[in-house]
């Protein structure tokens, strides 16, 4: 398999502060790459740098070509969907409107209609609530909405920022089961940032461990899982 996304020497900055240093990372086409790390390790920054939401240095390649986004909307236009930190819900809009916004850059109306139905098939709860104001959804439902909104782009690559954050364990399990199905059935590649290392490693084929903005360790998920330090610090057994 060829790499769908590749970064070489990627660094990112907030003002004068460097949050990410020389990150080389790859996501295989149709694969899942997990990025693990503690709070403040640079996980969210990595996703933001890919969408031109921070100042950055280094090179990004997407689908074999240099990818040099100037603004966040450039990522969506290249087929990179981002379910951001905090879920990014349009709180005052309805569930239906939130989903239609996900397909904003698409012009194939019948395809959008079909994808809407597919999203509802993955998350039937959203269909029940499609006319409801999104701000009234529970945290889990908003996370489902964030993932569905991202899928409405019919993306090549899905960037997921802590989909488990603040949710009950059962809901998290459900969401990760559906993410695995989406990856398997729709061949959507994923770059997933998670604090819940166990779940992320189950889903991913490759994993990177970030420590203070640098890659401390990387390799196939199984190898990362077997690493003594990762086991003690991030898996907790």
């Amino acid at each position: 398999m060829a790499a769908l996304l590749e970064t070489r020497g990627l660094s990112a900055f907030y003002g004068q502060t460097q949050a990410l240093t020389d990150v080389d990372l790859a996501v295989e086409d149709g694969g899942v790459t997990a990025v693990l790390g503690a709070n403040g390790a640079g996980k969210t920054t990595l996703l933001r740098a890919l969408c031109a939401m921070t100042r950055r240095e280094g090179a990004i390649f997407f689908d074999g070509k240099a990818f040099n986004p100037k603004a966040a909307e450039d990522a969506a236009r290249r087929g990179i969907a981002h379910a951001p930190d905090g879920r990014g819900t349009f709180l005052d809009l309805t569930v239906d409107e939130n989903l239609r916004l996900g397909a904003y850059t698409r012009r194939d109306r019948p395809g959008v209609g079909a994808d809407l139905e597919r999203a509802f098939a993955y998350f039937p709860r959203l269909k029940e609530r499609r006319g409801q104001q999104a701000g009234t959804l529970s945290g889990g439902e908003q996370q489902m909405l964030a993932i569905s909104r991202a899928l409405m782009l019919r993306p090549r690559l899905l960037l997921l920022d802590e989909p488990s954050f603040g949710l009950a364990p059962l809901v998290v399990k459900d969401i990760f089961r559906i993410l695995a199905a989406i990856n398997r059935e729709d061949r959507v590649a994923m770059l997933i940032v998670e604090q819940n290392a166990n779940l992320a490693l189950d889903l991913a084929d490759r994993a990177y461990l970030l420590e203070t903005g640098r890659v401390a360790l990387h390799g196939p998920s199984s190898a990362v899982r077997a690493d003594e330090a990762v086991r003690r610090v991030y898996l907790g057994y």
Binding site: A76, A81, P84, L91, T136, S138, L153
Partner: protein, 290 residues
């Protein structure tokens, strides 16, 4: 009863003007959290453009629609060329910029068109075919034009993809960018639309208050009052607020205190409402769960 009905109906006509201006103010407020103090002067300038076209021999409705288009372009240009440079600047800085725009546009109009008061023609007939005495044909026409415009704007935001994208960009710009919306362009379009809505207010007000560079001063104040009364985060509340302010103003003038201090009474009533309901009559209390 006849006189009372007359006061209410003609209040609705000026109310439509306040409603339009309030809507324009709220549209920009929702997208930027800024109150555009120059909105009234922009509307005044648009009205002069219409006057100049009509004066040069253009038919009224041609001038009307050309003015809407020109106002849209000018509004969008002001956003792109001026306001965008102050993105992220402290609120006070932006307030000064707005006041600067107000003064500049006011002086520009005075310089181009002089400060002498001009009459502005109404597109509606001089004599009424029905409802004679209750309401003048211009007032009735102004109410109709205002309602038609409100319906169009509502339909645009509610039912078109571009309208949805503009609402999204106003609510959550970061998420909007992530789904591929060019938020800067939405802001420019929003300013253009607000300017066109304001232009309608100016052109409907001018036959009543006459055309001069300071014509919008009082109207802008009522527009603010209407926006706050209806709820500054709710465009439709703001429009309803405009009609309420118009009617209140007329009734206060006719029955309570006379024309001299009707402005104060109307504003006092509005302050009273805001004390009881700080978010306005129709301001939404947003329900959110974490």
């Amino acid at each position: 009863m006849f006189a009372f009905t007359h006061q209410v109906l003609s209040g609705l006509a000026m109310g439509g003007v306040y409603a339009s201006l309030a809507l324009a103010i709220v549209m920009i407020y929702q997208a930027t959290r800024l109150v555009n103090f120059a909105q009234g002067e922009m509307a005044m300038f648009s009205t002069y453009l219409a006057w100049a076209m009509i004066d040069a021999g253009a038919p009224y409705w041609l001038a009307f629609f050309l003015t809407l288009v020109l106002s849209f372009v000018l509004g969008a240009a002001i956003e792109r060329l001026v306001i965008r440079r102050f993105d992220g600047a402290p609120v006070l800085t932006v307030v000064i910029v707005f006041i600067g725009l107000l003064v500049i546009i006011n002086s520009l109009a005075g310089w181009l068109f002089t400060y002498s008061i001009k009459s502005f023609e109404s597109p509606f007939p001089d004599t009424a075919r029905f409802g004679a005495g209750y309401i003048s044909p211009h007032e009735m026409g102004a109410i109709g034009v205002t309602l038609a415009m409100l319906a169009l704007i509502y339909g645009f935001f509610r039912f078109t993809p571009l309208g949805l994208a503009m609402r999204a960009a106003a609510q959550n710009p970061i998420s909007a960018r992530l789904v591929g919306i060019d938020v800067g362009r939405m802001l420019a379009i929003g300013w253009g639309l607000a300017a066109a809505v304001g232009a309608v207010a100016g052109m409907m007000a001018a036959p009543i208050v006459y055309l001069d560079p300071n014509m919008m001063g009082g109207i802008l104040l009522y527009g603010f009052a209407a926006a706050l009364l209806g709820g500054i985060d709710n465009p439709w509340g703001a429009a309803v607020g405009g009609f309420i302010v118009g009617v209140l103003e007329n009734i206060a003038g006719a029955y309570l205190v006379g024309a001299e201090i009707k402005l104060s009474v109307a504003l006092a009533i509005i302050i009273g409402v805001l004390v009881a309901r700080p978010s306005g009559l129709f301001g939404r209390v947003i329900v959110t769960r974490v």
